[in-house]
Amino acid sequence: METIKLARTRTLAGLAAMLLGSAAWSGTALAQDASNPTASAATANTNATNANADANAVPANAAARGQNNNSTSASSRAPTDPGVRGGDPGAGGALPGLNDVERQYFDVAKDVFQEVDAGPDGLGPRFNLDSCSGCHSQPTIGGTSPATNPQVAVATVMGAKNVIPSFITANGPIREARFVRNRDGSPDGGVHSLFVITGRSDAPGCNIAQPNFAAELARNNVVFRIPTPVFGLGLVENISDGALEASLAANAQQKRALGISGRFNRNGNDGTIARFGWKAQNKSLLLFSGEAYNVEMGITNELFQNERESDPACQFKVTPNDSTPLVSENTASPSASFQNDIDLFAAFMRFSAPPTPASAPAAPVAQATGASNVAAGQTTGTATGASTTSNSAPTSSAASTSSTASTAPSAASTTMASAAADVSSVMTAAAGSSAAQPSSSASSDASITRGNQVFSNVGCQACHTKTFTTEKSPLTGQSNVTLQPLSDFALHEMGAGLADGVSQGSANGNEFRTAPLWGVGQRIFFLHDGRTKDLHEAIQQHASRGSEANAVINNYNLLSRDDKQALINYLRSL
């Protein structure tokens, strides 16, 4: 038996040290104050506002995040984010294996998802954008915030005179704004739409004003959210609560050694696990659709029937604005012809294929149960004859200048074989990203393989790597499908640096759902408010006072620069 020496004689030293206790208490009190919701919201706002000025810049507000000095030496060895990778996202189309009727339904749903609404459709009177696909478009329809922010153009379309808030820029992320508190100090947390239809040629007589964002910004009362990608969410919707609970409980000892716990946001009506949205506040895709249609576009529907802005001079359609057609709308899908918009939005998400990583090989079609070699972001299923990837990675052998993975397993290298060319192609095919830059550490298959290993070793996978299997599905070929969304869909305390002070369901102001990382290689903006375009910075932002991720980020900071780079390369391969 090894013995760690006891030093009982140090009792006296401990007593003497207590004489200095008052100072220690003061310091502790300060730390606790900074974790209260109001202070957290202010901090988040400050960071987000800074990020708006240069979304790609490192906020570096280490003091505000409670970052200790140790990260300084680490940041001097910061890796380079190669930026948005090229290649086919594998998403945007229908799930593989659907039958012809289902595909027709999906195609109509996708068209409706892209419709631009105006006054006669019920747009507004307050809104953030005028179509679903406007927000969900990077790298393709159903994704997230694109490189050019469409909110800038929509502010003045059709004669509108909206003032563009300072946190909206042409090359910044699409944002919705929430106020943390009402003027009387009570909790708010709701979305305050950026724009009004006042002045538009399709809204005569409407004369309402935008919120005074400048005043609220001055009060540090504004927090932001960017759009979440909707690819593959039908598979996520079809994961059982039991599977999610088992996943959160799995590897408990490893999580505990990293300071990680987590819990689910449960629906207030039936107690089941909610899983969509930045705080997992939305229970279902239909609810997600109905809520966004009203909150983001101002279009009332059969789930959310009432206008949020009820000024009668600004209503140009019956309410709810969207309702179930009783007469066929004669679309290409007889089924879709009798559906309202929110049902079709939900169907688009539900039937949508998940992203596939650049590194994925041509997906084998396999019975998913018990499958163990599923690449991140890839799905396998029972869909006979269907391929889950459409890997059109360039065959160029350019770049591949860095390899740190002498120990990488050969099998894994094989599965990553196509990644080098794909990630390297970022340099010339950045899919609209200004973040893509040449790097001396350009990705190689070995580096990506090593990055996958780093991802697991430092502990990212404790929250971000989860394999799930769907339940029996009414959709063809979607039962018992294995997927890797790289999320546990649980809420985690993310600390004062990310806290937005907004409570939703069970989620408090410091908690966020683990963001699914499938497709992250082709996203431009990161974190809930889009404060950075840089993956290294996004990783660093996971650490702050009160965050469950602090130990994992400590591990990350201890890595060699090459291993940090490998991790970034791996993430960009997804």
């Binding site: 007593l15 008052s22 408990a252 207030g268």
Partner: protein, 291 residues
């Protein structure tokens, strides 16, 4: 020697107030200052002091306090503290505790916990087990140590059990030499106070509440949210509840549960012919009130 100890206590109480806790060899003083919640550990004058776990971790000049961890979890998990070397960011010490009354997994003792941990870490791609789990003594408590490494990180975990909690010291470094230094820092672990026969630490009992409650008042008004809320309670020798610790809940849930549980009454727990103070836990699985 004893004179100096008492003098130190007296000065300490004057200087920092009676609510502080620290090295308390006297039963009378311990009764005044004892903390009953695991998360109440603090860094005081260069030492991390947890009265609940009766642990003092004197921090060397080389260590500085890291970022505070999250609040206690819904499964009774605590991040007690983090420390990192001051000069070069060569490693970190993370001290955590899991309340085994509420652990979501089946591991019920520290040996099994470390064995399970070993199994999980060995399955991680690229991870090597450098030292198989082996018995150690940490701060006077028997426990287990395991070393492992991967992607240039060298790590040790020391696990001990105190009051039905598995407390682990997780050491991480970028080289073996620095790791050895962090391991040596555990030499600075000590007890806050010596065992006091007249004021013993409450006996920890699992599953006592379900079979031995005499009076039980259910909390009401928990709101519209479904929630599992872990609650620890310390029960006096007469069976009355003397302390309620709602580990994680909203303010309203906390208030209502505390109010209800304080009215509970248990059969006294008898040990060697005498009723003794004990602590136990109850998980409240609350359903939404609007269902």
């Amino acid at each position: 020697m004893r004179v100096w100890l008492y003098l130190g206590i007296a000065i300490c109480l004057v200087g920092t107030g009676a609510v502080l806790y620290g090295a308390m060899p006297s039963s009378q003083d311990a009764r005044i200052v004892r903390s009953e919640n695991p998360e109440d550990g603090k860094v005081i004058g260069g030492a991390f002091v947890s009265d609940y776990f009766n642990l003092s971790y004197r921090l060397s000049d080389e260590l500085t306090e890291g970022l505070a961890g999250p609040p206690p979890s819904q499964s009774g998990y605590y991040v007690l503290g983090t420390w990192t070397p001051k000069r070069d960011f060569a490693g970190a010490v993370l001290v955590v505790a899991q309340d085994m009354l509420f652990a979501p997994d089946s591991s019920d003792d520290v040996k099994n916990v470390v064995a399970e941990f070993r199994q999980v870490m060995a399955a991680v791609d690229g991870m090597t087990i450098d030292r198989e789990p082996a018995p150690v003594s940490v701060g006077g408590h028997p426990g287990y140590r395991i070393d492992f490494s991967g992607v240039g990180l060298f790590r040790s975990m020391f696990a001990i059990e105190i009051r039905c909690h598995v407390v682990t010291f997780n050491l991480t470094s970028r080289d073996r030499e620095s790791l050895a230094g962090l391991v040596r820092s555990l030499d600075n672990l000590d007890s806050v106070r010596k065992e006091d026969i007249s004021n013993p630490v409450p006996q920890c009992l699992r599953d006592y509440a379900s079979e031995n409650s005499v009076r039980r008042v259910e909390p009401d008004g928990v709101g519209a949210k479904a929630a599992s809320i872990p609650v620890r309670m310390i029960v006096a020798t007469d069976g009355s509840v003397k302390h309620v610790h709602v580990i994680r809940a909203s303010a309203a849930q906390r208030r209502n549960i505390e109010e209800a549980v304080r009215q509970w009454k248990f059969k006294p727990y008898v040990k060697q012919g005498h009723p003794v103070e004990f602590e136990t836990g109850v998980m409240f699985n609350l359903k939404p009130t609007n269902m």
